[in-house]
Symmetry: C2
Subunit: 237 residues, 2 copies
């Protein structure tokens, strides 16, 4: 659905391997998480991620996007001016110099090391192997956002349409990392707000958002004109 | 606030002057309503309209837009690709050929005649006299919208951020005309949705929107990260 899925709670405090006493079992499994701009070659993976989101939200009956419809409507403007996607990748190894994913001067990929208690068993690592990267790099999630506008502030903001992390990567801080990357971009561009929506019964997500400083606007409701009603109204009914 | 104000209910059925029986008092006062793309010279009027909206919503403490902030953030992209404003003008006379407002090939102004029972007494007609038009043309309202994106549909839509009609022009069908112009544009561009928000206690507006075929999404809440919280989160907190 047209909405940000709840991000996982923050990751546990990382345990750097260097602090593990000699002779004991290492506690941490480092994961190298990278956020980068999506590019047209990512569309097959993006399509699969959106479908997984539709399954998660039990809304597959509303899912009609195809790789072709995504390809023809995304990537039509420079990043941040219109629809923009950040891809979240994970790897057990540091990223090697990566011309394919480093060549956009508007956004340098950001890498963060996350130390996990247990290794992640990803049953779909072959399906989600990142195009053009070493075999170890896997796509774990994405965030789609675009500029919105506040007439009261007289300046733009960002609206987060979708935030999704694949199941086996949840509850490790990756959702927060994606949302934080959008907020950081908004601050860098001097934008006034970042907004998204949440389901009113999703108390865990609401608590998480409030703890990060977001306000939940209780009085506003979204109105949607679509399908036949849009056609009729747009044609002058 | 970042939201569409409720539009007035539809205008009464027009009474063409030709149907008035001879000898009786004419019932209709025709008003020529025109919807056109805003341009940079409209910014002073747009700024005043937004301020009136803030007064109407009792939210002037949140109003910080200036003519300069509007000028530097609007009109940075071609119409419909990013933030787009339709201006509503009214005149008691037909529009003469108007090079200034007819020169955008992406949108030809649309004129509609509305027959009113009583003439409109506009106390601000001098302030809102349209720039570059004959003295009779007055700006009565605006709608600001921009593309949003549905990953489930795999295509864009429009989000209506603000819809405002000045007080003396309300309840005559002009709000509906502005919203309809956005819907028509969405249909022409093959877009999948038009969305906006409404206050949950505004039962008249909700009824009006439902009658036009819109769905009110009851379960979703808007989350907003702004001000110091955005700065803190964007800077890595």
């Amino acid at each position: 659905m047209a909405a940000a899925a709840p991000p996982p709670p923050p990751a546990p405090v990382p345990t750097p391997p260097s602090t593990v006493p000699e002779g004991s079992t290492p506690l941490g499994f480092p994961v190298f998480a990278r956020i980068r701009l999506a590019q047209p070659t990512d569309v097959p993976h993006i399509h699969k991620l959106i479908h997984q989101m539709a399954v998660f939200e039990r809304l597959t009956h509303l899912f009609s996007a195809t790789e072709a419809s995504l390809s023809s409507t995304l990537f039509t403007s420079p990043p941040f001016q219109s629809f923009t996607i950040f891809i979240l990748e994970v790897s057990s190894q540091p990223y090697v110099e990566d011309i394919l994913h480093n060549n956009n001067p508007l956004y340098q990929p950001k890498v963060q090391v996350v130390n996990l208690d247990l290794p992640i068993d990803d049953p779909e690592r072959v399906t989600f192997r990142s195009t053009g990267s070493s075999s170890d790099v896997v796509i774990a999630g994405f965030v789609l956002f675009f500029p919105n506008y506040s007439t009261f502030l007289g300046k733009p903001g960002f609206y987060v349409e979708d935030l999704f992390v694949r199941e086996c990567y949840r509850r490790k801080g990756f959702g927060r990392m994606l949302l934080s990357a959008v907020a950081k971009q908004a601050v860098e561009m001097g934008y006034g707000r970042v907004e998204w929506v949440v389901l009113d019964w999703n108390v865990n997500a609401i608590k998480f958002y409030e703890e990060m400083g977001a306000k939940i606007l209780q009085e506003w409701r979204i109105c949607r004109l679509t399908g036949d009603a849009l056609q009729a109204y747009g044609n002058g009914h």
